[in-house]
């Protein structure tokens, strides 16, 4: 008769790892089917964990996206000037009355004149008002500014015209409406030529801004523009420290200009104008959009990290659940382990069998968790206008990570199973 050596591969066969994986996968599926309820409950732990982590990552990414979008929507190569002492420039943090913030129209004019990288400036005075027409009113932040605001914010008129230099020079009583304000006051009707009252003062509507939409819950169409001179003379002049002080200014740079170089030049000019000694605190703050993006990304990054860390705890608990159930599974199937060893299973075969079972459990839970996270993301995005992108990379990452969880937490039970003595295992009742 045929002997073993003739029929079977010789002494130490090099087994095909993919084939072993397929066998172990089949064994795992049988084992999981045998105890459906228990498998589902165990998976639930990983499912919730992966769901939470995936969603936390997605929400964080969404926040970053939204912040970047908001800042991009502003005009991406821009600096923002604020009349506030800046002690980030390396000077000692001392603030006396003489160092109170300052930024004036003349400063901004000087910047536009003397810094060649600057394309346009948009000095601003802002205040919230109730804007009234017969039969309707709207509350919005009114921006007193110059034509430069159009370039800096990359936001033009759809109908009518923008504020002109003539309007600014003559302190004209004219306004340009944002889309949201226009709709509140006039519905779908054309507002051009109509009159609105701001604090009882009548203004002629000369233009309607094009629709820009909202980002991060901030409606960029909920605004109204008027000449900065009009704003100063009629409304906010008394509240300012000087006759040409500003609350804020945007500086738009030339296409392709280096923002940091532009910033340096602006600061040098202003320091000169205010006679700021080297190392002293400047009475103004200059931030480029680049810095805003970096800062926001840094903050959202921290928030995301915290969120993911909290979510990871649930994944850890899920992993412990896997370990628990795998230990039960090994105990229950001790006799099967003994039998497999008697039939020729090596320790590594037994170990791999249980590792694959744990990994399959985790990956199934992880896959369902990702699908749920994706659905939740889509729902959130639809109902709150907040991006929650569950991308392919996040999905693959989560599945790989849950398999890893399976290997880590399934590892101990699997190794324990493989260390059993064949006869002890077989004798177990």
């Amino acid at each position: 008769m045929a002997t073993a050596s003739e029929l079977l591969p010789s002494a130490s066969p090099t087994r095909n790892p993919m084939a072993s994986l397929a066998v172990n996968f089949a064994i795992a599926m049988t084992a999981l089917r045998t105890n459906v309820m228990r498998s589902v409950l165990t998976m639930l732990g990983v499912l919730i964990g992966v769901f939470a982590v995936t969603l936390a990552v997605a929400v964080g990414n969404g926040a970053r996206e939204a912040v970047t979008e908001t800042i991009d929507g502003f005009g991406s190569n821009m600096a923002i000037l604020i009349p506030r002492p800046d002690d980030d420039e390396g000077g000692p943090p001392r603030r006396t009355d003489s160092e109170r913030g300052r930024l004036t129209q003349r400063d901004v004019d000087a910047i536009e004149r003397e810094v060649p990288l600057v394309r346009a400036t948009a000095p601003q005075l802002r205040q919230s008002f109730d804007i009234v027409v017969p039969g309707a009113s709207a509350s919005t932040e009114v921006v007193g500014t110059t034509p430069g605001y159009e370039i800096a914010t990359v936001h033009s008129v759809d109908r009518g015209r923008y504020i002109s230099n003539t309007d600014v020079r003559s302190s004209a009583r004219v306004v340009v409406l944002g889309r949201t304000v226009s709709e509140t006051l006039f519905g779908e009707a054309d507002p051009i030529g109509e009159t609105v009252r701001v604090n009882g003062v009548p203004f002629a509507i000369i233009g309607l801004l094009e629709e820009k939409g909202s980002t991060l819950g901030d409606d960029t169409d909920d605004t109204m523009l008027m000449p900065i001179t009009t704003m100063r003379q009629r409304f906010v002049g008394d509240t300012l420290p000087g006759p040409d002080d500003l609350q804020l200014a945007f500086v738009a740079f030339q296409e392709g200009a280096s923002l940091s170089r532009g910033k340096t030049e602006i600061i040098a000019l202003l320091k000169d104008r205010y006679n700021v000694e080297f190392g002293d605190v400047t009475p103004f703050t200059v931030r480029t959009t680049e810095e805003f993006v970096e800062q926001s990304q840094f903050i959202t990054g921290i928030l995301q990290g915290v969120l993911v860390a909290i979510a990871s705890i649930s994944l850890l608990v899920g992993g412990i659940g896997i370990m628990n159930i795998m230990l039960v599974s090994v105990t229950e199937r001790t006799r099967e382990i003994g039998l497999r060893m008697a039939l020729g299973a090596r320790r590594s075969d037994i170990r791999n069998q249980f590792l694959v079972e744990a990994a399959v459990l985790c990956m199934l839970g992880g896959a369902v968790g990702i699908i749920l996270a994706w659905l939740t993301g889509v729902t959130l995005e639809a109902s709150f206008d907040f991006p929650v992108p569950v991308g392919i990379a996040t999905a693959i990452g989560a599945v790989v990570f849950s398999a890893f969880i399976g290997l880590v937490f399934g590892g101990y039970p699997a190794i324990r199973a493989s260390r059993l003595s064949p006869i002890e295992a077989l004798r177990t009742e």
């Binding site: 008769m1 045929a2 002997t3 073993a4 050596s5 003739e6 029929l7 079977l8 591969p9 002494a11 130490s12 066969p13 090099t14 087994r15 095909n16 084939a19 397929a22 066998v23 049988t30 089917r33 045998t34 006799r335 099967e336 039998l339 497999r340 060893m341 008697a342 039939l343 020729g344 299973a345 090596r346 320790r347 590594s348 075969d349 003595s421 064949p422 006869i423 077989l426």
Partner: protein
């Protein structure tokens, strides 16, 4: 090897297995030296606690002796790694257990194919060989049944097919009829006789004289020692009933 020189398949030299139980040392097997050649049909007898099962577990490389040596097919097993022992069990020894030890919710084919997984064969070959063995055991119409759908005798025949599927030299059966009725037991013994005639060395551990009478050689254990080792006179040949065919 010349045809007339018998090939020793199992050899033990001064085999000892002791357990510690509640501070007391128990000599389960206490200095057994014997040799079983190719083609033999041996019954290992003894009462419960005589050491016969412990002895069988050691020659089956499932258990490690406290001292002494076990040689399987001429190879000392003493210093073998656990992987090498697994491979040896897989290729040279087929096990049949009292409680069948089939995997529940698993078809006859898949049960029989388990040792072939560990032999490293591909799925198609595994199915082919498992099917062939099941047909040889008269279970051609039970290939896809799970153990729950099989009678005790059928389950034990699946287990025998599984033991034989790697074409081992030795069949080790521990109380193979302990869970079966007399008539079914007779069928199983008939299968063993046929296998022995085909050249497989059969070693049956039993406490039943009825069963031992089918063997060619009878070794009796008591208190961990061999007290009798003789050829069976008046050997009984099993009369298989039709069902088993």
């Amino acid at each position: 090897m010349p045809a007339n020189a018998p090939r020793p398949l199992v050899e033990t030299r001064d085999l000892v297995k002791t357990y510690r139980l509640g501070g007391e040392t128990i000599h389960a097997v206490n200095g057994v030296s014997l040799r079983i050649d190719e083609g033999e049909y041996v019954a290992i007898m003894g009462t419960s606690g005589s050491g016969k099962s412990t002895f069988m577990n050691m020659i089956g490389c499932l258990d490690v002796p406290t001292s002494g040596e076990v040689l399987v097919d001429g190879t000392p097993t003493q210093n073998m790694s656990s992987d090498a022992l697994a491979s040896l069990r897989n290729r040279k020894i087929g096990f049949v257990f009292q409680q069948f030890n089939l995997l529940a919710r698993t078809s006859s084919i898949d049960n029989v194919a388990v040792p072939l997984i560990y032999a490293g064969l591909d799925a198609a070959t595994r199915r082919e060989r498992a099917t062939a063995k099941l047909i040889a055991m008269g279970l051609g119409d039970r290939l896809l049944n799970t153990p729950a759908k099989l009678s005790g005798g059928q389950q034990q025949r699946v287990a025998i097919a599984r033991a034989l599927v790697t074409e081992p030299l030795i069949l080790l059966a521990d109380e193979p009829t302990g869970a079966l009725d007399t008539r079914t037991s007779e069928d199983i013994m008939a299968i063993f006789e046929e296998l022995n005639e085909q050249g497989i060395t059969v070693i049956v551990v039993t406490h039943e004289d009825e069963i031992a009478l089918h063997a060619k050689r009878r070794i009796e254990f008591r208190d961990g020692k061999v007290i009798e080792d003789k050829l069976v006179e008046d050997r009984r040949i099993a009369a298989p009933n039709d069902e088993a065919a």
